[in-house]
């Protein structure tokens, strides 16, 4: 003990310096946006490397299940392709007129136990991924990309309490904003639906066209609970999601090709 105290006293200047240096680094991180993003860039690239390694091992054991999921999705796509050919629509014309570009990616880290969850995927700037891009999966939406490094990106998960997504009712187009309630990974809440609109349990919710990130009409979930206010106003609606965000492996990044045009018309954002 005595030796420990002696050692502490001997190096007290260095320790004092390191302590104050840490304080000033925190200070720097708080005040300067550039340094903040520099530090968070470093931490993202370190954590994504570690997660890529561990996820690589885990993925090996779930290959069979993934295969099955991919086969099902392929079948569905095949049906769509046949339908197109039946209608004698030129396929390249359809793809070009569709305003979104799609890139596939694999999730290497997914969390759903916090109030603000992030997902990391194995595609980054080198693959043409940019921030503020929507991410979907085979049966719903995943989130929005908020940060990228050379070969990884971090996604603001749908299970992030501050993320609000523009959605609408499939049957009548009434739109509101959906956000996570923060307790269960399949339960979301829907705000801003006026009581003027008729709503019933079981209605299907799809993405609304007003979002810059997602195309119109991706099915998201169904209404599970409705609370009508005493007077006129807005419903409190609970939604049960179709997709289970706790066991996703593959996602698709959809980039809005016309985003610059939309932003030009929307100067206040």
């Amino acid at each position: 003990m005595q030796q420990l105290i002696n050692a502490l006293l001997k190096y007290k200047n260095s320790l004092f310096y390191l302590g104050l240096l840490l304080l000033s680094l925190i200070f720097l991180n708080q005040r300067s946006f550039y340094h903040q993003s520099f530090f968070s860039d470093i931490s993202l690239s370190i954590s994504s490397r570690i997660n890529l390694f561990s996820q690589g091992i885990v993925n090996y054991f779930s290959l069979k299940k993934i295969n099955e999921q991919l086969r099902l999705e392929n079948e569905m796509l095949k049906v769509l392709e046949l339908a197109y050919q039946n209608n004698k629509v030129d396929k390249t014309a359809v793809l070009e007129s569709f305003g979104f570009k799609i890139t596939g990616a694999r999730i290497i880290k997914n969390s759903y136990d916090k109030a603000r969850n992030y997902i990391i995927i194995n595609k980054g700037e080198a693959d043409g991924i940019k921030t503020d891009t929507g991410v979907i999966s085979s049966d719903g939406i995943i989130g929005i990309i908020n940060q990228t490094t050379k070969s990884f990106s971090s996604i603001l998960s749908l299970l992030h309490r501050d993320l609000k997504v523009n959605v609408s009712f499939k049957k009548n187009g009434a739109y509101g904003s959906m956000s996570w309630r923060g307790d269960h990974p399949k339960k979301m809440k829907l705000d801003d639906i006026s009581t003027l609109n008729p709503v019933s349990i079981g209605d299907t919710i799809v993405t609304g066209g007003m979002s810059d990130y997602f195309p119109y009409g991706i099915p998201l979930g169904t209404v599970s609970k409705i609370e009508r206010p005493k007077f006129e106003g807005y419903y409190e609606i609970d939604i049960e999601l179709f997709s289970n965000l706790t066991q996703k492996e593959f996602v698709y990044i959809i980039k809005n090709k016309n985003l610059d045009q939309i932003e030009k018309l929307n100067p206040d954002e």
Binding site: K12, N13, S24, F27, R31, Y34, H35, F38
Partner: protein
């Protein structure tokens, strides 16, 4: 001892305000602001407690950053220069430096010159590395360090003449 402490406090406040309200607004050639506040660390007594100097370095940088809306680079640079000052003193004046009251007067001219120059260049290099913080800006960092160090050095050397009287009390 007491009068020395009072003198240090006076120097601290004077240099801090001089730096914030006058020198940071010079912008010579658009980017040169001499950092005269380094004078405090240069003339601080050699035989006093180094822990207090480290704390004063932190405080000086912090106040400077808060008053000038700086990002925090001055805090780290001033803190570090206060920490490495004993090493610089040993490197320039030799291991057995015997300058009890830390007056720079009475030391050989070239050693004094080297001491001031090293303090200034190390501080400025660190300051600009933290401000720019990327490999692409190496040239800008070196350019800023060179020019600002030069002007700081001139101002420090001129000001030493002013402090001479006060320090000999």
């Amino acid at each position: 001892m007491n009068s020395n402490n009072l003198l240090s406090i006076f120097q601290f406040i004077l240099l801090l305000f001089l730096q914030v309200f006058l020198l940071n607004n010079i912008n010579l050639f658009g980017f040169i602001n001499p950092n005269l506040y380094l004078l405090f660390f240069i003339v601080y007594r050699f035989n006093s407690n180094p822990t207090i100097l480290i704390f004063l370095g932190f405080l000086m940088g912090l106040l400077l950053d808060l008053l000038t809306q700086g990002s925090g680079a001055h805090t780290i640079a001033a803190l570090t220069i206060a920490f490495v000052r004993p090493i610089i003193i040993r490197a320039t004046f030799g291991i057995n430096y015997d300058i009890p009251m830390g007056m720079i007067e009475g030391t050989p001219q070239n050693q004094r010159f080297l001491y001031i120059l090293m303090m200034i260049i190390i501080h400025h290099l660190l300051l600009y590395i933290i401000i720019y913080f990327s490999f692409e800006s190496v040239l800008i960092i070196l350019k800023n360090t060179l020019f600002t160090s030069f002007f700081t050095f001139i101002m420090v050397y001129m000001s030493l003449g002013l402090f001479k009287k006060g320090l000999n009390d």
